[in-house]
Symmetry: C2
Subunit: 529 residues, 2 copies
């Protein structure tokens, strides 16, 4: 078989060769050339085995309860830390993201923090929202889904959102579900190292064999089949809109839950007073946020809306200078570069004026100069859906509105986005405009910011990394922040008149940990009944 030289996949506790013959290699974004490791594209037979093993082990994992799972997540964090040099080297090669500070000192520690916070939430059990009605003798809590959760990770965070070890992975396991991870094909080696660590941690924690399985790549039609399989519990997908919507359609049609984090233009509104007060400072913040990680952040501001006037020209000039002064930026791969070129061509065709960027960088690899466009608010309002596109990578659009009234109309024309920011004058001079725009923008975004750019998603219980469609598939769920992110992968389980000794520990009279929060007869309490 031609896959004999390809790396094995992790199925039912064993690293074993894929049954397929197709393989792929990740590309080096710095050079555009193929990297060394050869990885398999799994045919349906691989996938079917993973689903069957995951389904088989789901009850055993659920029966173990939270402590071994929390131990696993913590053990994985330790092992990831031990393999940090390998992980940074691999991700550096596969993504071209800077080894320092980004990979080694920002994203990797964040990933460990996520795993430890998920472990803490899992062990603490408050995430399951145990609710007890002592009078009616009805008790309920969130519990595992009964089948494996499929995680499909994105290209832009090789650790923190990785299908192995990332936030969705930690959440799905903390809820007590096995995981079938599908690596992003852009960083298979990074994912393999994470999965090696996971397999060791799994054995050490005594979790069932199929609690974590790994596939590297699937044919698109097999992905659609997988998310619609009746034996899976749910899917989490982070990535581009076309793939995400195709998966959503397949999963929806079969009634399988799917959580999507798709795309977002993250509009930033700079109110007149703020623009007058600190145009250069905001311009510098905008540039930094737009170009962080070469603009390859879900929360990159792709759209900045400002009121016209003399300061607008100063602001635009400051942003333009920053963009023009930038070196070309290395992108994650040719797909990102092609997407950017396409978005730029579409914007130009729609009448947006190019303010910066557009040169083709010399040299090899997938590089791009940061690109800046501008257009009038009137033009934007003629066809809002054409201009609030996510342009993953270093491209942003400045919309120059006639006045704050038109800025409000632009907010009203928006689709759903992950974030929306409003910059306003520090002395309250913009308050009337803020009051007009905020209620409109509020229903369009998951996270609203003041005087702050949206890049940087804190792992906080109060975070919402989510938002209305088409930013995600449902406005009520967040992909970041514990305990809320865990609940996505759980079913509400009600016990009506169930005998006391048959209740799960979380719903018995005695508080199982002494500190777990439960809603008993309408009061949140850590006490036993």
């Amino acid at each position: 078989m031609t896959t004999s030289r390809a790396f094995p996949i992790l199925i039912d506790g064993e690293w074993r060769p894929s049954r397929g013959s197709e393989t792929f290699r990740a590309l080096d974004p710095e050079t555009g050339g193929a990297l060394a490791g050869e990885y398999p594209v799994s045919p349906w037979s691989d996938i079917a085995e993973a689903v069957a093993a995951g389904k088989r082990d789901a009850p055993a994992l659920a029966a173990l309860g939270p402590d071994p799972v929390a131990g696993f997540l913590e053990g994985l964090a330790v092992r990831i830390e031990e393999r940090k040099p390998d992980l940074v080297a691999a991700a550096r090669l596969e993504t071209a993201l800077p080894a320092e500070p980004r990979l080694g000192s920002v994203e990797l520690p964040r990933t460990l923090d996520q795993l430890r916070k998920a472990a803490e939430a899992c062990r603490g059990r408050s995430w399951c929202r145990a609710t007890i009605d002592t009078k009616a003798d009805i008790r309920s809590m969130y519990g595992p889904l009964g089948g494996p959760v499929v995680i499909m990770g994105p290209s832009n965070f090789p650790y923190a959102y990785n299908a192995v070890g990332g936030g969705d992975f930690a959440s799905a396991l903390a809820a007590g579900n096995p995981v079938i991870a599908k690596s992003h094909p852009g960083h298979p080696t990074t994912t393999r190292i994470l999965a090696e660590a996971a397999r060791e941690a799994l054995a050490a924690a005594g979790l069932p064999r199929a609690s974590v399985q790994l596939l590297y790549h699937l044919a698109p039609e097999d992905g659609l089949r997988l998310v619609a399989d009746r034996d899976i519990g749910a899917t989490a997908f982070t990535g581009g809109r076309p793939s995400g919507l195709a998966l959503k359609k397949a999963a929806d049609g079969a009634g399988r839950p799917i959580y999507l984090e798709l795309s977002s233009a993250n509009p930033v509104f700079v109110l007149p007073g703020a623009l007058d007060e600190r145009p250069e400072a905001i311009a510098a913040e905008l540039f930094r946020s737009c170009t962080l990680a070469s603009g390859q952040m879900c929360t990159k501001p792709g759209l900045a809306v400002i009121p016209d006037g003399p300061t607008a020209r100063r602001f635009i000039e400051a942003v333009r200078e920053a963009f023009e002064g930038s070196e070309p930026m290395v992108l994650l791969g040719p797909k990102v570069r092609d997407g950017l070129r396409e978005a730029a061509a579409r914007l130009a065709a729609e009448g947006a004026e190019r303010v910066a960027g557009g040169r083709e960088p010399s040299g090899s690899g997938t590089r791009s100069y940061p690109a800046l466009f501008r257009m009038s608010g009137a033009r934007f309002l003629e066809d809002p859906s054409a201009f609030q596109i996510e342009s993953f990578g270093t491209l942003s659009v400045l919309v120059v509105a006639k006045d704050a009234h038109e800025m409000r109309a632009i907010a009203a024309s928006l689709d759903g986005h992950l974030t929306g920011a409003i910059y306003s004058r520090s002395d309250g001079g913009d308050d009337l405009d803020y009051e007009a725009i905020e209620p409109v923008l509020r229903t369009k975004v998951g996270r609203l910011l003041n005087d702050k750019m949206p890049t940087g998603v804190a792992v906080s219980p109060a975070m919402n990394h989510g938002g209305p469609y088409p930013a995600t598939g449902h406005p009520g769920f967040t992909a970041v922040g514990f305990p809320a992110a865990i609940v996505r992968f759980a079913a509400l389980r009600c016990y009506d008149h169930v005998r006391a000794d048959r209740l799960p520990p979380e719903l018995r009279d005695a508080n199982p940990t002494g500190t777990m929060w439960r809603l008993i007869d309408g009061e949140w309490t850590q006490l036993s009944i």
Copy 2:
């Protein structure tokens, strides 16, 4: 216009004629004849006006805050109580459900209780799960969706699940959303009286005009268009599976949230020891639960699974006698009767043996004798999806399994259902079988019961009236029980670095009510910061 004699619809605060010409009349289930009131089938132009008005008023309703909405819900309860004689007379005629105790002393008081509990939850604000991270200065809560919620009510609960005044209605408003109600065409007069009460209560509470609107009937294609409209916030539908899945497909495709309560066979497992211990008692309970409200309950046990043996024969004989001894039961309408006939024919064709029922009742109206079928566990397992159908009305299937091991296999073969009950011997003699079957059944149902039939859904904070697909569209949500049912109609709103005076009251340092529960830095508390 031919609709001049038809009742008006409630649009933007006014009762005004439909713009369409098509009308309908409800049928009297007792006689099969048409009832007096003529009601309009709304064309798209009516619907578009309702959507536009609801969308326009959504921000104003959200800005009012919870107290006026709570006042409205309580005022509606008072007005419904005042109109009780009219409501009981209308629902009695339209549904043939008994005026007493069902309509007047059970369902109507339950509806008032729901409205008052929703009002209490709304005023109390704890439902919105305010979460504050003081260190990161990030705060989040659930808030309104930004557009009207479409409610489509079922036939079988003319008050408690009515699109006006029922549980979904109360939940959507408590979350701060306007409602566009679509009456079930089986009881338009009942719905009209409820909407008259709602309009009065609305004016008294000072809510925006379009906070409650009413349409009586829509063409199916307009229903699909409505649930996919980008200006609506979400939809709640309770009813049959084919209509529900068509609406789900339309809503999913447009990324609009939809909550479904579709159908359920509500399996009851009687373990060997329980069957030996009290066969006649369980048979009597099963008969009562199967025939309550002529079997027209979402939670009616349509499937009972028992182990074979001498007691099985006694049990079946007792159930048979009860079914055979029953008078024919009046159904809600010809659609229910035809559905039952179809289900019976299909079961017979698939090899199930008819044990009771099957005679055609004499006289007019939509009556039916309760029907009972039996089949072997082996036959069931050959084609589980053919036999776990919801048969809305008085039809149930007894599955006689070889032993407890086969009962477990039957549980494993189930789709998602609202409820699942296990009867076991009172002295613990069935515990081993319980431990084998419960984990399997647990992932298939929303509510698990012991020694209790599933009909009767308590309005409790711990209730789950929901379950895995295809019982509903998502396993994490309940349609009954406050505060959980409210959260369905809300979006997660995060505030990152937002100035203190711009935060909603629920997220400011001071607790806005003094009693609201908030999750502050990981602790549930009623204290201020």
